[in-house]
């Protein structure tokens, strides 16, 4: 039985208007990865525990594995691909490299999205606020200290630039 439904996904992704006729009834992460080829959106647990799939929906960090794709219609999604480019990194991406806040890299996109949201709503977070902001992002490599320092350094870079 083929009961597949189709819809047109009209939304803004990483600053670009997108209009895509595609299968409905899926998770936002599947639409971003399978239809838009945005492979920076990682699926870790698929259960809302690990934060690897974090994207910004209208500027707020959400879990794309627990978001029905239709929720994004008419809205703005930003993924790791949309916050900087290879030639022009986001200050938090620079800081992650400089502080060594990355090892295997799997948690990094989600971690950066949480950091970017934090710095947008609170440009001068203290250590406790940074830890609270990334408490929904699990990293099994670095032990978090270097990631926290990266966000601290990014806050400094962004306020002095």
């Amino acid at each position: 039985m083929d009961d597949t439904n189709y819809i047109t996904m009209e939304l803004t992704v990483n600053g670009r208007r997108v209009s895509k006729h595609c299968r409905s009834g899926r998770r936002l992460i599947d639409f971003l990865r399978d239809d838009l080829n945005l492979m920076g959106v990682k699926e870790g647990c698929g259960e809302g525990e690990c934060g690897s799939c974090t994207v910004l929906l209208d500027g707020k960090a959400v879990l794309s594995c627990l978001t029905p794709m239709e929720k994004a219609i008419g809205h703005e999604v930003i993924t790791i691909e949309g916050i900087g480019s290879a030639n022009r990194l986001h200050p938090l991406q620079e800081a992650i490299i400089e502080e060594g806040g990355i090892q295997c890299g799997f948690c990094t996109p989600g971690m950066i999205m949480s950091g970017v949201e934090l710095l947008a709503r609170n440009p001068h977070p203290d250590r406790a606020e940074i830890i609270a902001a990334i408490s929904g992002n699990l990293c099994r490599c670095t032990g978090y200290q270097k990631i926290v320092r990266s966000i601290e350094q990014a806050a400094q870079k962004m306020s002095s630039s």
């Binding site: 439904n5 809302g48 934060g51 959400v62 239709e70 929720k71 949201e117 408490s135």
Partner: protein, 285 residues
């Protein structure tokens, strides 16, 4: 395919009509943090989703006269950041900070937490301690009932298939009152409560005038510890009194053994966090 159809409701009537027209095959979705877990595990469990999260009227947090109203689709992040609630019902702010982590707080809603009716839901003991009412709207009109009547049992609520939880309402806590929510979980973030406790305390002329104490994850539904409340009535607040209240609370609950903790451990912790919640509530008066 996780579901077949997805409607984004524009207003409350719109959502009620879709629900009434599709009977049991439709489910409401707000943040989706609980529902998507169920759908990911069991695709096709529900054919139609009705998204109410963009209905503005369902997201308002306001005060009218002495009553606070919280729209059912208000997110934990909204509650966490509400200055009104920080002054008039701080325990909800305290609980919202501790649910999941930032992403879940951006997505999940107070109405979803209540509708899910998990014994471990963190909004529930707060609403019990506030003596909150649940306001519903459906095809046959509106009705309101106390939270303790709305929650009928383990994951069971008194809601007709065409009804929507519109809001929660309760008396604002005034200057002689304080409130607190204490969560005991395996870690500070992303943890389901092993036991949680909510307290509202009003003290006048040095004596406890109102004490409302609710515990979660200690029975099929939230438990109001009536014997602890009775003990506190008209007494002078003290650490010793709060400890005795904790003892009483241990007698009012029916915890179970499960993967998160044993019944004996839960009973012990329930007493500890009861007295902690009371002490914090007192400090905030």
């Amino acid at each position: 395919m996780l579901y077949k159809k997805y409607y984004v409701a524009q207003n409350i009537e719109d959502a009620v009509q879709i629900l009434a027209g599709s009977k049991d095959s439709a489910r409401l979705i707000a943040g989706g943090t609980d529902l998507l877990l169920q759908l990911n595990a069991q695709p096709g469990l529900v054919s139609t989703l009705v998204d109410i999260s963009s209905v503005g009227a369902l997201r308002e947090i306001s005060q009218q006269d002495g009553k606070i109203h919280i729209g059912a689709a208000a997110t934990y992040a909204q509650i966490r950041q509400s200055e009104l609630l920080a002054r008039k019902a701080f325990l909800l702010v305290e609980a919202s900070r501790q649910i999941g982590a930032n992403q879940i707080q951006n997505m999940g809603t107070i109405g979803g937490n209540v509708a899910n009716a998990s014994p471990a839901g963190d909004m529930l003991p707060c609403l019990y301690a506030l003596d909150a009412w649940v306001n519903l709207h459906g095809a046959e009109g509106s009705r309101s009932l106390p939270i303790s009547d709305f929650i009928k049992g383990y994951r069971q609520i008194d809601r007709k298939p065409d009804e929507i939880i519109v809001s929660f309402s309760f008396n604002a806590l005034e200057s002689e009152s304080g409130s607190a929510f204490v969560k005991f979980g395996a870690r500070k973030a992303q943890a389901i409560s092993i036991v949680n406790a909510a307290a509202v305390l009003t003290v006048q002329q040095g004596k406890v005038k109102v004490a409302r104490l609710a515990l979660g994850s200690v029975a099929p539904t939230v438990v109001r510890s009536r014997s602890a409340e009775a003990l506190l009535q008209n007494q002078q607040p003290s650490a010793e009194l709060f400890q005795q209240a904790g003892e009483r609370a241990r007698g009012d609950i029916q915890p179970i053994d499960d993967i998160r903790a044993s019944a004996a451990f839960r009973r012990h912790i329930a007493g500890v966090i009861t007295s902690r919640a009371l002490s914090k509530a007192l400090e905030r008066i």
